[in-house]
C-alpha cells in the first residue's frame, strides 16, 4: 500500500539507499512515540470496559464493538439485530468527504496548474495567496461562510439582483452546505501537492503529444495527468481523510441534525456520553476503513502503472 503516494511515479530510485535508515529515523522516532503509541493505546482501550462518564476500567470487554455492530433496542435487552445507526453515519461521512474531494479536485487542479504555469518568481506569491485565508481561524471562516450562504445572505442577494434566480437558493443546513464547507476547509491541501507535481512537469511531453495531433484535452488526460498523478493522489488523501473526521463545517453549515463520524467520536470523549471504549472502537473501525481505501487506491495505481 506504500504506493498510495509513494511509489506511483517512475522516479523511484535507490540513490540514497545506504542512508535510508538515517533519513527515516527522525520520522520513525517521532511518529512511533506520538502517533503509533497513542493509536495502540486506543486499540487497547477499545477492548476495555467503559467507566461511567469517561475513562476505562481495566477489564476485557467487547461491549464497545458490540454496541457498534449490534442493536439491542432502546433498553438494551431486545434480541440483537444488525445496528445500522453507526454504519449509516460512516456511509454518510464517506459520501460527504468524497463529494468534497471531487469538488476540491475540480477546482484545485486547474488552479494548481494555472499557478505552476506562471512565471517562476511569482509562483510563491500565488501559493501564499492560496494559503493566507487559512491564517484566519476555521471557526471564524466557517461562521462567515454561513453568513454568505444564508437565504437572505449576500450570495442570494447577488444572484437575485442579476436575475439568475428569482427565489433564494436554500443552501444552509443541506448536504450541499456540508460539502461546500469541507471543500472550503481543505482546498489548499489539494492545490499545493498538485502544484508541487505540475511545477516539475516537462512540457516537452505536451508538445510531443500536440505534434502527434492529440488535442489539448486528450493530452491533459493521457499525458499530463499520469505524469502528475502522485500530486493528485496526495491532494485527494489530504482532503478526503481529514474531511472524514471533520465536525466544524458539518455542524455549523449542515445544521448538525445528523451525526458525522467526527462529531460522533468527539461526543464519546467530551460529550454527554463519555464512553471512551466506544469512541476508541469507532476510531479503530474508521482507521481500518481508511487503510482499506488507501490500499485499494494503491493497488489500482500500481496496476495502472504497470499497464503504462
Amino acid at each position: 500500500m506504500a504506493g498510495g503516494a509513494a511509489s506511483g511515479g517512475s522516479a523511484t530510485t535507490d540513490t540514497y539507499k545506504d542512508a535510508r535508515g538515517w533519513l527515516l529515523m527522525p520520522a520513525w522516532s517521532v511518529l512511533l512515540v506520538l502517533s503509533l503509541a497513542p493509536v495502540f493505546m486506543m486499540l487497547v482501550y477499545s477492548f476495555l470496559t467503559k467507566e461511567f462518564r469517561g475513562g476505562v476500567i481495566w477489564e476485557f470487554s467487547l461491549a464497545a464493538y458490540d454496541q457498534f455492530f449490534f442493536d439491542r433496542g432502546l433498553f438494551g435487552d431486545d434480541p440483537p439485530v444488525i445496528e445500522w445507526t453507526y454504519l449509516t453515519i460512516f456511509w454518510r461521512s464517506i459520501w460527504q468527504a468524497g463529494a468534497a474531494t471531487i469538488l476540491s479536485l475540480l477546482i484545485g487542479f486547474p488552479t494548481a496548474y494555472y499557478i505552476a504555469t506562471r512565471p517562476e518568481n511569482v509562483r510563491p506569491v500565488w501559493l501564499f495567496l492560496i494559503t493566507i485565508p487559512y491564517w484566519v481561524n476555521l471557526l471564524i471562516r466557517t461562521v462567515s461562510m454561513k453568513f454568505l450562504l444564508r437565504d437572505q445572505g449576500p450570495l442570494n442577494d447577488l444572484l437575485m439582483s442579476t436575475g439568475l434566480i428569482s427565489e433564494p437558493i436554500h443552501i444552509i443546513n443541506t448536504n450541499l452546505a456540508v460539502q461546500l464547507g469541507l471543500f472550503y476547509s481543505y482546498l489548499p491541501f489539494m492545490v499545493l501537492p498538485i502544484y508541487a507535481a505540475v511545477e516539475r512537469y516537462n512540457f516537452a511531453l505536451s508538445e510531443a503529444a500536440a505534434d502527434l495531433y492529440a488535442n489539448k484535452w486528450v493530452t491533459l488526460r493521457r499525458v499530463l495527468l499520469p505524469a502528475v498523478k502522485p500530486g493528485v493522489v496526495a491532494g485527494c488523501i489530504l482532503v478526503f481523510v481529514p474531511s472524514l473526521g471533520a465536525f466544524l463545517a458539518p455542524d455549523l453549515l449542515g445544521g448538525a441534525k445528523n451525526f458525522m463520524i467526527g462529531s460522533l467520536i468527539e461526543e464519546q470523549f467530551k460529550g454527554n456520553a463519555g464512553n471512551w471504549p466506544f469512541g476508541a472502537a469507532a476510531s479503530m473501525v474508521l482507521l481500518t476503513m481508511v487503510l482499506i481505501i488507501l490500499l485499494i487506491c494503491a493497488r489500482q495505481q500500481s496496476k495502472a502503472g504497470k499497464e503504462v
Binding site: F147, R200, A280
Partner: protein
C-alpha cells in the same frame, strides 16, 4: 527556463477557475473584515463604521491574553512546520530515493497515521501519554504534538514532488565526483524547493489552526489563538476576533507583497 509555446501550456477556463477559486477563498474574509469595523457588538447586524474593536484588541481588558495567544500560535506554527518539514524531507528522500525495502509500506502507513486517526483520539491519548511519562504540559507539549501531527501534511507534497524529479541530475553530479551529500544539498534540494515550500505552508496552517489537540495538551496559562477563540464562544463571538483576524490578514498580505517585490528584483534568471 525555456518556455514552450504558451498555447500548449494554457487551457481555456483554467484562469477563470483560478480566479473563481480565489473569490471563494476570500469572500468569507471580506465579511470578516467588514464586521471588524462594526460599531456594535454584533457580527450579524451592521450598525455603522467604527475602529472600536481595533482599539479593544490593543487596549481592551483581554488584549494581553490575545496578544500572547497570537504570539504562541505563531511561534509554535513556525517551529512545528520547520521541524516537521525537515523530518518529512528526509523521510521522503528515503522513501522515493531509497530503493525498495521491507519497511517501506509500513513507513508510509506510519507517516500517514496522524491523518487517519480522529484528532480527538490523538488528543486524549497524547494527554494520557504525557501525563503517564510525567511530561509537564505547556508550550513544549503543544509543540511536540504539533510536530507529529504536521508530518503527513508536509510529507505528501514533498514526496509527490520528488517522484517527479528524475535522478539523472544527481547521477550526473556524482559522475563528476560530487559526494552523495553534495548531490543531495546542491542538486536535489533546489529542485525540491516548490515541494518543500508547499509542505511547509500546509504544515504551518495546520499547526496555526489546530484546536482539538492543542486544547488537550496545553498547560495552564498557555493559550493559542484557536483555543482563545473557541473558549470565548461562552461570551459570544465579538467583532474583536474579527479585528484580530483582519490584522493577521493584513500582516500576511504585507509579507506577500514584500516577498513579491523581493522576488521581482531577483528576476535575473
Amino acid at each position: 527556463m525555456a518556455t514552450p509555446g504558451n498555447d500548449i501550456k494554457s487551457y481555456p477556463g483554467f484562469r477563470f477557475i483560478t480566479i473563481a477559486c480565489l473569490i471563494i477563498l476570500y469572500a468569507p474574509l471580506v465579511v470578516v473584515t467588514i464586521y471588524s469595523f462594526n460599531a456594535s457588538k454584533s457580527i450579524t447586524v451592521w450598525e455603522g463604521l467604527s475602529l472600536h474593536w481595533y482599539a479593544d484588541v490593543f487596549t481592551g481588558p483581554d488584549s494581553g491574553k490575545f496578544k500572547l495567544a497570537a504570539r504562541n500560535s505563531f511561534v509554535i506554527a513556525i517551529i512545528a512546520a520547520s521541524v516537521s518539514t525537515a523530518i518529512a524531507t528526509l523521510a521522503a528522500t528515503a522513501m522515493v530515493r531509497g530503493g525498495q525495502f521491507k519497511l517501506r509500506t509500513v513507513s508510509f502507513g506510519l507517516i500517514s497515521l496522524p491523518l487517519m486517526v480522529p484528532e480527538i483520539v490523538t488528543a486524549v491519548a497524547t494527554l494520557i501519554f504525557f501525563n503517564a511519562i510525567g511530561f509537564d504540559r505547556g508550550l513544549m507539549t503543544i509543540l511536540v504534538a504539533h510536530i507529529a501531527f504536521c508530518i503527513p501534511f508536509a510529507y505528501l507534497p514533498i514526496s509527490a514532488r520528488m517522484q517527479g524529479i528524475e535522478d539523472t541530475y544527481e547521477q550526473a553530479a556524482m559522475d563528476l565526483y560530487a559526494t552523495k551529500r553534495q548531490a543531495f544539498t546542491k542538486i536535489l534540494m533546489p529542485l525540491m524547493m516548490p515541494g518543500i515550500i508547499s509542505g511547509f505552508l500546509l504544515a504551518f496552517i495546520v499547526s496555526l489552526d489546530d484546536f482539538i489537540i492543542t486544547n488537550f495538551v496545553k498547560g495552564a496559562g498557555v493559550e493559542t489563538l484557536p483555543t482563545a477563540i473557541f473558549g470565548s464562544v461562552k461570551q459570544g463571538i465579538k467583532p474583536n476576533i474579527m479585528a484580530i483576524s483582519t490584522m493577521l490578514l493584513g500582516l500576511s498580505i504585507v509579507m506577500v507583497t514584500i516577498s513579491y517585490f523581493v522576488s521581482k528584483t531577483d528576476n535575473t534568471k
